[in-house]
């Protein structure tokens, strides 16, 4: 597809989502909100994981901090929710700067494991904070209907995707891609790698925290286990990678597709749903390891041979 066509298609999808409350059931609206929030998370992971090449397992920390920002502002200080969202973003960005500095010195698996640790550490810390309701959690005041949240999360996904689109064609984005491709070469070519990586991490933090804030406000309940959930982080990575990391629309596409598949499986064959979900992922990795975005681009050219080539190229 041509880029212009892609954007028109994306605009149609956005328009479609916006009209869901007028014709869809309550269940569909709720599914929509969840899918949009997951898509936002996958998309913001795309910045650090897809473009910069740093597979972060710590993005759910940002998500959790965003949620706690809203919860603490609403419950402990009776502040408006917008202030809570800002508080969450500030917390998450601070976290990204403070911990990004040491953690982003690691690469590959080491970086993944270190960030994985961050999630566990945050659970432990927050479980012992009175202001965050310790391990009991916080109950937020009930908010207005689902339509508002659908619009909020839709707007957030659009903004996040626009940010990624900007990154993909900006000098900043080229710097990130250079870091992904060869960090030594990027440094030698005058890219301030430390600064760029931290900015990318912080940008992730902004969008993930907003997603977490909206989600907490919607669900009206937050505890450390659900706020700093490692499996949520795994899900956003799978969705981004399934869709196509380092592309503009891939991660959102992957999130919608996988959210729909897992929702359908969960309602049809409850007990085996997670096994089937696993099978979908394994099959996807074998046949289309570079994601849906790459499939859409090259299937026309190669036809069914596309899958064969992938198996050969990656020796599975």
């Amino acid at each position: 597809m041509k880029p212009a066509l892609k954007f028109i298609f994306a605009a149609l999808v956005v328009g479609g989502f916006a009209t869901v409350p007028s014709w869809g059931s309550a269940v569909l609206v709720q599914f929509g909100i969840n899918a949009l929030i997951l898509a936002t998370l996958a998309q913001s992971w795309n910045i650090i994981g897809g473009y910069t090449g740093y597979p972060s397992f710590g993005n759910s920390v940002f998500y959790g901090l965003g949620g706690y920002g809203v919860a603490i502002a609403l419950v402990q200080y009776q502040l408006p929710s917008a202030v809570g969202l800002i508080l969450g973003v500030v917390l998450a960005v601070l976290f990204a700067f403070l911990l990004g500095l040491p953690v982003l010195r690691l690469r590959g698996h080491y970086f993944a494991i270190a960030t994985l640790g961050l999630t566990e550490v945050m659970t432990a810390i927050v479980s012992n904070l009175d202001i965050a309701g310790r391990n009991v959690g916080l109950i937020l005041p009930l908010a207005k209907g689902d339509t508002l949240f659908l619009e909020l999360s839709l707007a957030l996904l659009v903004v996040t995707t626009l940010a990624v689109a900007w990154i993909s064609r900006s000098r900043f984005g080229f710097g990130l891609i250079a870091i992904r491709e060869n960090e030594v070469a990027a440094a030698v070519m005058g890219v301030n790698t430390t600064l760029y990586k931290i900015l990318a991490f912080a940008l992730c933090a902004v969008f993930s925290a907003l997603a977490g804030g909206i989600h907490a406000y919607w669900i009206t309940y937050l505890d450390p286990g659900s706020a700093f959930d490692v499996s949520l982080n795994v899900r956003m990575i799978i969705m981004a990678v399934f869709g196509g990391p380092g592309t503009i629309f891939g991660p959102a596409l992957g999130a919608f597709a996988l959210a729909a598949i897992s929702e359908i499986l969960a309602s049809k064959i409850t007990s085996l749903a997670s096994i089937f979900f696993g099978v979908v992922i394994v099959v996807a990795i074998i046949f289309m390891p570079r994601g849906v975005a790459d499939l859409a681009q090259n299937f026309r050219r190669f036809g069914w041979r596309y899958f064969q080539e992938n198996i050969k190229a990656h020796r599975v």
Partner: protein, 237 residues
């Protein structure tokens, strides 16, 4: 040599507690090709890293009259002190042209970058033929061309080329050496760091010989090439 482009004095550097370089003194005038030679482990690459500020050091480094000690690698790069790193360090999954454009990454003037791209293709016609090809799929010689061209795209005042000849056929090395001479004609000063003493002295005006972290000989390249001490140590005759 009244106003050298690069002036290094009393430079010491190392990794952690281990000192590698001791009291290095080095000067490069505008428009020179200077060869820095020495055997494995003499500290040549460490010196380049210190000059690019990739590792910390003590002592003075002056480039175009500015002290580099406090600068970060990207700031040094912005002053147009550009390194062509050992092992080429290309962006393997990007095309040749994208690699070259990454060299001009910091430059705001896109017209000048486009002009330099054409210039690079004139210098290396082979790269033009292969400009859509992935850099990782090039031959060793072509990769080295790509790395040098990428360095040139940054419009360097001083181009520091590290171990250019490593693993390349002699005929390719000769071709690359000729290119360095052509580059110098356009006003780029070159610091060539080499293990291959003979080829380095062939194109250089002056040479420095390093041995276990110190400069042990300085002089015109022709004289150094004839120096019995250098011959004995590096050529084995």
């Amino acid at each position: 040599m009244s106003d050298p482009l690069l002036k290094v004095a009393g430079l010491s550097a190392g990794y952690g507690d281990m000192a590698v370089l001791r009291d290095i003194k080095l000067e490069i005038a505008r428009g020179e090709i200077v060869a820095l030679v020495g055997s494995n482990g003499a500290g040549k690459t460490t010196l380049l890293r210190a000059l690019s500020r990739l590792i910390p050091s003590t002592g003075q480094i002056n480039f175009t009259g500015r002290a580099l000690d406090e600068l970060t690698p990207d700031e040094v790069f912005a002053l147009r002190l550009v390194q062509v790193p050992e092992g080429r360090q290309l962006f393997d999954q990007m095309s040749v042209e994208e690699n070259l454009l990454m060299g001009g990454y910091r430059r705001p003037d896109s017209a000048a970058v486009a002009a330099d791209l054409q210039r690079a293709y004139e210098l290396f016609p082979r790269l033009k033929e292969r400009r859509r090809q992935l850099a990782g799929s090039l031959s060793g010689g072509e990769q080295q061309m790509c790395a040098i061209a990428r360095g040139l795209m940054a419009a360097p005042e001083l181009l520091m080329v590290d171990e250019m000849s490593l693993g390349l056929a002699p005929v390719i090395v000769d071709l690359l050496l000729d290119t360095l001479v052509a580059i110098r004609k356009e006003g780029v000063t070159v610091l060539l760091v080499e293990q291959d003493v003979f080829s380095a002295f062939y194109v250089a005006d002056r040479g420095y010989v390093m041995e276990s972290g110190s400069i042990v000989r300085v002089g015109p390249a022709k004289e150094l090439a004839e120096d019995p001490e250098v011959k004995r140590a590096y050529l084995g005759i």
